[in-house]
């Protein structure tokens, strides 16, 4: 079962069972829905940005352990960060999922990712990559909306 241990790291199962930042935010926080039409996973991101800082983020939705844990880890990673920092985290994460070095992140990349590095094993299961990236694409959209 070594292959599966790479996918279902303890941190992932923990975030799946006890997701962080669940809930909703009232306007003026923006609300963006993300859908995976193939498998029906859905994520709603509520994002509050004040003076260029992600002051709060909340999530609802349903889906598999990877999509839900990824969204929970993401919320913890960007909350309190500046918008630029949040976009940088998104970039680093997406590189991890689909960049040229997708198979083997370097130690310094892993350090930058912190807990998010637990999702590195997803790359070995190509059909699950879209589960892991759903929340992040939705967050990008939400950030775009707050800057409009």
């Amino acid at each position: 079962m070594s292959g599966l241990d790479d996918l279902y790291r303890e941190i992932i199962l923990d975030h799946y069972r006890t997701p962080r930042n669940r809930g909703e935010l009232d306007p003026p926080a923006v609300r963006v829905e993300g859908f995976n039409p193939l498998c029906g996973d859905e994520i709603v991101v509520y994002l509050a940005v004040t003076d260029g800082v992600v002051t709060d983020i909340k999530l609802t939705g349903q889906g598999c352990s990877i999509s839900q844990a990824s969204s929970s880890l993401m919320s913890a990673a960007v909350k309190g960060k500046s918008v630029d920092e949040a976009r940088a985290v998104i970039g680093t994460f997406k590189d991890l999922m689909m960049g040229p070095s997708a198979t083997e992140p370097t130690p310094s990349e892993l350090r930058k990712l912190g807990e998010l590095a637990a999702l590195a094993g997803v790359v070995k299961f190509p059909v699950r990559i879209k589960c892991a990236t759903l929340a992040w694409n939705t967050l990008t959209q939400a950030l775009d909306e707050t800057s409009n």
Binding site: C39, G40, D41, E42, C64, I66, R128
Partner: protein, 412 residues
């Protein structure tokens, strides 16, 4: 006497000898596509190796052979379905989905006008929903749905009311999610009583129980070869001869014409009218071989075998997991086929399927192209195990052990 023995069938399927992730492959996804026996693969091989030529055009020997093989397949399908009008009622399409598009675009566009009603059911596959919505958007028909009861049956209590204004009822013979087998003859009688026609989605029924078009008394039937031990790339559209004869062509091009001039075209008689372009010849040969293979097994034996497998699996899923594996479908094999959808609290279907894969067990997670049905039961997805004639109770053993592992891993 048929010599049906599922272990012999299994011996004919090369893929079932594979080892995946250290386990013998356990294939429980026949509802999505079936595994072809050697006879099918060899028939297609032989065709390409020795007989390949374009059909209906050449006068040379091999072209005549290819044409004969292609038309033999048509005859085999007509016999398999007990088609009342014989082979000329059998149209080869790309798949079941294209067959429904043909029905909607050709028969639908020619026979329906704004306000006419097409009656579907909430348990249809998107293949039997979307083409009707497309037609609605184009010409303004109404699309109406028969509901599904809490015990996973069509709700026919208000059928008379639902049938008002209906020109076509289009229903699956067996749900690809629930396994529910629908009362086709009853629906045919009800449709005909109000002057409507009945189309049947046979995608999940033709490979798992005997099909008798005369007894069913439906007017159209659609299915794919790949779900009945045949190849991908070919499907069947059957219609009553008189209906087909009155239908305009769907796709245009070579092969479907009577005449073409700079002023226009006339169309060929049926079935050529609906087979534009070079058809899937090798695939038809494969489908013919699959039909003969199934006839050799006898569909009655296949149905009995799969009923046995399904009853055993339903009982054991319940006994071993004590209700934690919730079956989304009828709980007994009464009017039910070998497609078992289930839901486990705390373990998402994707994760179930991922852990099962690690045991070499193939099941399918997702909405199974039946989103209205998913919505009806408040689900986003289910995991689905489905049987074929080569399935054995040992496949269920592997399924149960792997499910146990998935539930342990997720603490469910």
């Amino acid at each position: 006497m048929s010599t049906f023995d599922p272990r012999l069938v299994r011996g004919d399927i090369a893929q079932l000898k594979r080892v995946v992730n250290g386990y013998p492959l356990t294939y429980l996804d026949s509802g999505a596509t079936s595994l072809p026996p050697r006879a099918v693969v060899e028939a297609m091989d032989r065709y390409y190796a020795l007989h390949h030529a374009n059909v209906h055009r050449g006068v040379y020997q091999t072209a005549a052979e290819a044409t004969a093989l292609y038309e033999d397949a048509r005859s085999a399908v007509a016999r398999f379905l007990n088609a009342p009008g014989g082979a000329s009622e059998i149209i080869f399409t790309k798949n079941c989905t294209e067959s429904f598009n043909l029905l909607a675009r050709s028969w639908g566009a020619a026979n329906l006008t704004a306000g006419d009603v097409v009656l579907l059911t909430e348990m249809e596959h998107h293949a039997n929903i979307v083409p009707w919505f497309q037609l609605r958007d184009a010409i303004g028909i109404e699309v109406r749905f028969i509901g599904v009861t809490d015990d996973f049956r069509l709700d026919l209590t208000n059928l008379d009311e639902l049938l008002r204004g209906v020109k076509l009822v289009s229903v699956t013979a067996m749900s690809n999610v629930l396994g529910t087998i629908n009362p086709i003859r009853e629906l045919a009688d009800a449709a005909h009583a109000v002057g409507a026609l009945l189309a049947v989605d046979g995608a999940q029924s033709v490979a798992h129980s005997p099909t008798d078009l005369v007894a069913m008394d439906c007017d159209f039937l659609a299915f794919s070869a790949h779900k009945m031990l045949g190849p991908t790339g070919i499907g069947v559209f059957w219609g009553r001869q008189a209906l087909l004869d009155a239908m305009p062509p769907f796709l245009g091009g070579g092969g479907m014409i009577g005449d073409v001039s700079v002023n226009g075209f006339t169309s060929a008689p049926v079935p050529a009218r609906f087979e534009a372009g070079t058809p899937p010849i090798a695939e038809a040969v494969g489908l013919g071989a699959a039909v003969r293979y199934l006839e050799g097994l006898s569909m009655a034996h296949v149905a009995a075998h799969e009923a046995h497998l399904t009853a055993d699996a339903l009982t054991r899923l319940n006994d071993r997991f004590d209700g934690r594996v919730r079956i989304i479908g009828p709980s007994t094999v009464d009017r039910r086929g070998g497609v078992i959808s289930f839901d486990i609290e705390g373990v998402h279907p994707h994760d179930i399927s991922q852990v099962l894969d690690q045991h070499g067990v193939c099941v399918r997670p997702g909405h199974h192209c039946a989103k209205p049905l998913m919505k009806r039961f408040g689900l986003n997805a289910t995991a689905r195990a489905s049987f074929g004639p080569y399935s054995l109770t040992s496949d269920t053993d592997a399924l149960l052990d792997a499910l146990d592992d998935a539930m342990t891993m997720f603490g469910a």
